[in-house]
Amino acid sequence: MKILSERYVPLVVTVGQVVIFPYYILWLKEASLTFTLFTWLFAAFSFSAALGYRLFQARKKPAISFIPFLYMGMGGIYLLVGNISTSFEVLPYLTLIFQVILGFLQGYHHAWHIMQNTFRLHAINHYLLVGMIMVGLSFVKIISPAIFITVFGTILFICGLVFLFKKNKDSVIFKLGDNEETEVE
């Protein structure tokens, strides 16, 4: 375990995605208005996730350098979703674009995540954390899904920045250590 951010940020992201899911669904249902469109938007997400996953696998050398931008991209989309105030006439079109980008980024992230050593450990922690947070949220009076989505978007964006910053810092330490492995923890 070389880098702290590599250990915890993916866990925050995967747990956050599940926790935010019910709120995101509420928003998506409102944006799509009809059940047919709702299911189409899900399908677009899934196909795009498959593409993201496969594109990560198709890379000869998995590039971790993309991951911070991926978090920031996902965070940016959630921030847009949480703050958008556009006509319902345009919203389904925007939502389709959001779903495609989110699907792609999540598929790509998942493909990267399962390659990490921490993935197996994350799986257990992930389920436990999701369970606990959900129980916690059951006591929170929902004001608006948009607030939670915005908060999660901000967290993701910060995770991206932390990941980027820490990785750069660690790579400097790594160079200074004359190619010796440097424990950051």
Binding site: E30, L33, A50, R54, F88, L96
Partner: protein, 495 residues
């Protein structure tokens, strides 16, 4: 287990990034072009509250009966009459004032009662069940080179619904829609089935047409038809003060069969500019041209949405409308196709807001003075107002002697107004105040308003504009003593 190279290829194709990329692109494009223009849910439902097109008057109903056979309908009406149960009648539900349902009532959904019964080419008539739409009728008569005499501007509505509101359209030669019905079969409130004509001594047609579903179920009608003539479209831009003279001249000359106009609601030309569209006879008949389908609804809707933003964008929308209309000048069109206006592009979905119609009638000779007064009454720029006007279409409504609760006591112009306002209580009250003021102004000019829409007007205004309401009410009680046919409209104005 060994796997053949062919199987390997089969297994791997779905993992090919190019395949997945193509799949995403195709799917996204398919979704983009299929995102429905109409996203709202409205209408009949037993699981939650029933509404009509505007969803303004939600109400729980007892049950929905999809109209099947005459005997089945007769049984339901007889039972309701005996058990003092109430029945409402619904078609496409584009009337906007709760005319098609009532609290705890049985709602007859007539859309399934839609057979074409007989086409008489020689006498130019069609006998049709009233759940059929005007489009159904057009599809049936078009191969015979026939067309409707009077219909609504759009063909999506049911015949029973249009007759129940005595609708009118773009035709300026054949008078009111009710006058084009030669024969009618009605299921009366006591459960009798009667076939009547215009000469019927009991005058059923006078009460049923424009009777808003209160006198019985219209089972079928025999409609008079005409030739499917070919017209040349003539368009022209006018000032609103030139319109009266223009239209009088149009009526004097026999050459025009259909006509409508649109008045500007854009800030810079508000109630000052207008354009007219005339359908002039060419003397040619058509047996072959196919019925046009609605195309470009998404584009039309986008343009209207731009206009809905108000201010400079509404000016831009108006200028583009004029260009579009000008481009139609000189085109040829069949009568059937001229009677099939687009409708999907008008869909509006925005939580917390609603778009409604109102129609005011004003005597032809009063148009100029009326518009002049209206210009002073309404703000020219409603961009920052809650009450917004998006469109005013003008149509001619000839004097109507065929119905009892008639809106055209003389030759009138009908101004169909597309209005948007908020749904909060104070926003609805504000809209009511404006529309009541507008109604008073119309009354001052000897005009009135149309009843198939939401009840913004007061009961006093209704009684002034429809002085025959009392006789209509008495007749309703006489013919339907147990109040079988009931709806929210009747409840508001008569009970």
């Amino acid at each position: 287990m060994e796997t053949s190279p062919r199987n390997n290829k089969k297994q791997s194709i779905h993992k090919n990034p190019w395949f997945l990329g193509t799949l995403v692109c195709i799917f996204v494009i398919s979704v983009l072009v299929n995102i429905p223009v109409e996203k709202r849910k409205y209408g009949l439902t037993q699981s939650s509250l029933t509404t009509d097109y505007t969803s303004l008057l939600p109400e729980r109903i007892d049950r929905i009966v999809k109209a099947g056979s005459r005997t089945e309908l007769q049984k339901i009406v007889k039972e309701a009459n005996e058990n003092r149960q109430q029945i409402s009648i619904a078609g496409l539900q584009h009337s906007q004032g709760g005319h098609t349902y009532y609290k705890d009532s049985i709602v007859l959904d007539m859309k399934t009662f839609n057979k074409i019964l007989k086409i008489d080419k020689q006498h130019k008539t069609i006998k049709v069940e009233t759940g059929a739409t005007w489009e159904d009728v057009q599809e049936a008569i078009q191969p015979y080179g026939l067309a409707l005499k009077v219909t609504q501007s759009q063909s999506i509505f049911t015949i029973g619904g249009s007759l129940s509101v005595n609708a009118h359209g773009r035709d300026i030669t054949f008078g009111p829609m009710a006058g084009t019905v030669r024969e009618m079969t009605i299921l009366t409130p006591t459960g009798d089935i009667k076939t009547v004509t215009r000469n019927d001594s009991e005058e059923w047609m006078k009460y049923v047409f424009g009777g808003y579903g209160l006198f019985g179920v219209i089972l079928d009608v025999t409609l008079e038809l005409t030739e499917n003539d070919v017209y040349t479209i003539h368009t022209e831009e006018l000032k609103t003060n030139e319109y009266e003279a223009y239209f009088s001249n149009l009526l004097r000359n026999d050459g025009t069969s259909m006509h409508y106009a649109r008045v500007s609601v854009a800030p810079h030309s508000f109630l000052n500019e207008m354009y007219v569209i005339d359908y002039k006879n060419t003397g040619k008949k058509d047996h072959q041209t196919e019925l046009k389908k609605e195309r470009g609804a998404r584009f039309g809707k986008l343009a209207l949405d731009i206009g809905r933003q108000g201010g400079a964008l509404e000016d831009l929308f108006w200028e583009n409308q004029k260009l579009l209309i000008k481009s139609l000048d000189g085109d040829e069109i069949t009568r059937n196709n001229a009677m099939r206006g687009n409708s999907a592009f008008m869909e509006f979905t925005k939580p917390g807001r609603v778009e409604v119609l109102q129609e005011f009638f004003v005597p032809v000779a009063q148009f100029e003075e009326y518009i002049s007064d209206l210009r002073r009454f309404l703000p020219s720029n409603d961009k920052n107002e809650d009450f917004k006007i998006h469109n005013i279409t003008v149509r001619y409504a000839a004097k109507d002697d065929y119905t009892y609760l008639n809106y055209a006591k003389g030759d009138m112009f009908g101004l169909v107004i597309l209005i948007q306002h908020g749904l909060k209580e104070k926003e609805i009250d504000h809209a009511k105040a404006i529309i009541q003021g507008w109604t008073d102004l119309t009354l001052k000019h000897g005009g009135g308003y149309y009843l198939p829409y939401y009840q913004y007007q007061t009961i006093e205004q209704f009684r002034k504009i429809y002085p025959s309401w009392e006789m209509f009410h008495e007749e309703k009680i006489k013919r339907d003593p147990n109040g079988v046919f009931q709806n929210i409209f009747y409840d508001y104005y008569f009970e």
